[in-house]
Structures are given as structure tokens and as C-alpha cells.
Symmetry: D2
Subunit: 137 residues, 4 copies
């Protein structure tokens, strides 16, 4: 299977990603992009998109980027760190992830999450993630 098929499969087969509404919008060697139409269920107590939604989207898209660089093998998230820069109040999120370093057993990727705020598209969160390369399941 080629890179795109492998990575798209990660999005299609993950119940939580489908349930949330995150869809893959692009993929290539070492990168992956996704988007999400925000609805009220994604928000937290202040009306902003919940940090967990941003983290889920960034984690999964970074995992997609990592998977695009792991050949025939699968990847799982070992850990990630995410910073939140400003509240996401728009109705659409876009995420762009890219691999920083692809080793045989560990792949590190980062992901930026953008929100279409009234003043334009803004960077609302940035994640750095470590994935482990595992045998295909």
C-alpha cells in the first residue's frame, strides 16, 4: 500500500476521530493535514473549543505524519506536549503536521492547529509528539 492509503486508513478506522468529525485533507511523505467543523459539542465551559479537541486533532494528525514516514510499519503515540496560544472561537479548525525526525524505532512530529477567527486564521495550538514504530497489526 502507498503512503496515502496507509495514512487515510488511520483516520477512517479510528472511531473517536470519526465521532469527533476530524477528516484528513492531505497527506504526503512526512506530512499530514486535517480539518474539523466545530459544533457546540466541541466546546468547554467558556464557549471555546476544548483543549482536548485540539489535542486529539493535533495528536492524530501528527500520528498520520509519522505513519507516512514509517514504511510498512505502524506507529503509536508514546507522548506529546501541546501549548495553547489563544482561545479557539471559530467554526473551523485546520491542522498541519510534519515529521521532525524519522528514526527506525522512534519518529518525532509536530503539529500546528489553526482556527478561523473573526480576524483571520490564527495559530491556536502547537504540539510536539514522540511516536514508536511497531510491527503492523
Amino acid at each position: 500500500m502507498n503512503v496515502a492509503v496507509n495514512v487515510r486508513s488511520i483516520f477512517e478506522k479510528a472511531n473517536f476521530i470519526r465521532d469527533l468529525g476530524v477528516t484528513i485533507t492531505g497527506v504526503g511523505e512526512g506530512w499530514c493535514e486535517s480539518e474539523l467543523q466545530v459544533s457546540d459539542r466541541h466546546r468547554q465551559q467558556h464557549g471555546y473549543v476544548h483543549a482536548g479537541v485540539l489535542a486529539t486533532m493535533a495528536d492524530h494528525t501528527a500520528g498520520g505524519a509519522a505513519r507516512s514516514a514509517s514504511g510498512a510499519k505502524d506507529v503509536i503515540t508514546v507522548e506529546f506536549k501541546i501549548n495553547f496560544f489563544r482561545p479557539a472561537t471559530g467554526d473551523r479548525l485546520r491542522c498541519r503536521a510534519q515529521v521532525l525526525r524519522a528514526g527506525k524505532t522512534i519518529i518525532v512530529a509536530e503539529a500546528d492547529v489553526f482556527s478561523n477567527e473573526k480576524t483571520g486564521e490564527k495559530l491556536v495550538a502547537k504540539l510536539t509528539e514522540t511516536c514508536a514504530v511497531i510491527n503492523q497489526q
Copy 2:
């Protein structure tokens, strides 16, 4: 309002937390606990609970612990880091969060997430989170 009311309010007013099914099960000064009945929608492509579900639960419960230590003021997540130790395959998650350091403007909390695996309750993830204290909204 007292601590418990303030913190319970964070869980009740957050759409995404209600949508996910995370409920608060205990709170005191400097700590907070929650649980989640896992269903198929929470899983990822390997059948494990999605990292984003674990992260959301840990983030929100750590935020609850931080809120229990911020007096009349509210808190927001500045950043967090989470490590995943093993796949969560059970049908129930439990999270325990506690404050590590409560300053006037910044509160740091950590959260452990446990899954009831066939071999007993196991630690599946650990988060460390930095919150900012903000004026009540």
C-alpha cells in the same frame, strides 16, 4: 461558592466533557477525580481508547484540581504533556489529579489515568499541566 461547587461546575458546563461522558467523582482542596465508561466511540484504529480521550480526561481533571486551588478566580490550560504507558483496553477509566504547585498566576497539576484491564487497574497515562489563573468570567 465553595471549592466543590466551583469545580463541579467546570465539568457540568463543558459540553465536550458531557458529550464524552466524563463525570467528576470527587474533589477537595488541591485534587480532583473523574471517571469514564468507555464505549466503542472512544476507541482508535487498534481498538484501544484514543490518546485524545485520555488526554481530554486528564487535562480536564487536572484543570479541576487547579480550579480547586485558585480561590475565586478561574483557570485555563496553558500547556500540558502526557505520556502513554500501555494501551487502555478496559471498559472504565479513572483519573486522579492533584496540584503540584499553586502560585498566584500559575498553577501546575498532574493527573494519572487508570484503566480497569483484565489483570486489574493499570496506570495507562500520566499528564503534567500548566494552568494560568485568570479573572472570573
Copy 3:
């Protein structure tokens, strides 16, 4: 070689650790302790111990704890995250690290750094670290 010999060797053979003055004070399966006599060279522009000194001590001691749990194999740091809770102004630091999860290829450890402040020993920093298990060199 036994655990203690392996871990002590990591401290003795690391130039930068000897140069800094960090010494191992205890080790067992899954944990490691160290200390440092602070001198003026360890400080930053405000007179506090530099974050880099705290990070180095925490990283190396966490690596020691990980090495105590890796059998015949060696470990290297893949990544770490560290929070700083208050300025370290004392003349002695103590670090305690313990393994959170020891897998075949990845070991996660955490480390607390304490400073003997005028008001007593205080927690000044906490680190979480991911190590990779590698073949002995």
C-alpha cells in the same frame, strides 16, 4: 554487573556531570538519587540556580533510574519535560528519580529536584523523561 555498578558508572563516566559536581547518593531497582553542592557558577542572572543545572541533574538522575531498570542494556534520553516551581536559592540540591514504566524499548521516569531553602527543603522542579533502550556500547 549489578544494577548499582551500572548506574554509578553513568555518573562517573559523564564528564559534564562530574564537571557540574552532581554525585550519585543512592540507587536501587527503579530509582536513583543524587545531590549537588551549589556554587556561584551554577547561578543565572537573578542569582538563582540556572534552569539548565536543574534540568541536567533531573535528566541524568532520571536516566540513572531508567538504567537501573534496563538490565544489560543501555539507555539514552529521547525527550523530557520539566516544570520549575520556585527559584532555587539554597546551597544544596537533592534529586530523586523513579521509573514510571519500564518497557522493552522505552522507559519513562520522573525526577523531583529539591533545594534546601531557608524555610526548609522545597520542591523546585519536576521532570518527566522518555528514554530509549539501546544495545550496550
Copy 4:
């Protein structure tokens, strides 16, 4: 004082940075660069530059970038996360830091550390750091 003077002062007045040999090589609004001539004292047990040296350099240079964006106020490190991509075996390190988000109370910066390896300059580590803006001391 202008930006460059403020930031250079952070490097000159920090004992540990001078002791290590890290020098500032450039600064502007929102960015800072530094370098280090590696010597044997900077290495760990495998002969590579110690993770603590890379972390110190990245932390301090990110702090310099943050300071360039904090106006008349000073900054301190709240937390950082750093990933290590490959061993640093060269004799010179270069660090480039830039601000990701400058708020009134919190500034987030990232820093890349490069090593001049035999095969050319390589990215060996990447840090993301949260700083708090404090009153001038």
C-alpha cells in the same frame, strides 16, 4: 534600553552560561541566536554532548527570544520540553530561538539546536518553552 541590550545582558550576567561558554550571536524582536564551542567537559558517558548542555543552551536562548518580546519586563522559565533527535558529536553548536506567542503574562518560544557533524550541520534537539513575564528585578 533597547531589545539587544536587554537580551545580551541575560547572557552576560548568567554565571552558568558564561561558565558553559554559550555566547549570544544575534538578537532581534522575537528571536535570539547563540553558539557554543564544545569541549570534552560538555560530554556524557558515550562521548556525545550531554542532554543537559543542549537543554541549557536551548532554554537560555529561548529565554533570550522571550526577553526580546517582553518590553521593559523580565521573564523566567516556567517549563520546557525538549526532544533529542540524534547524538551531537561535533565541536560546535548553534541555537536559534523564536517566539511563537507573546502574551502579556506568558510568552512561548521554541529553539532548535544544530551541531556541525561530519556530514554537515544537523538538527540535534528542539525545545518548546513557556516563560512568565515578571516585574523587572
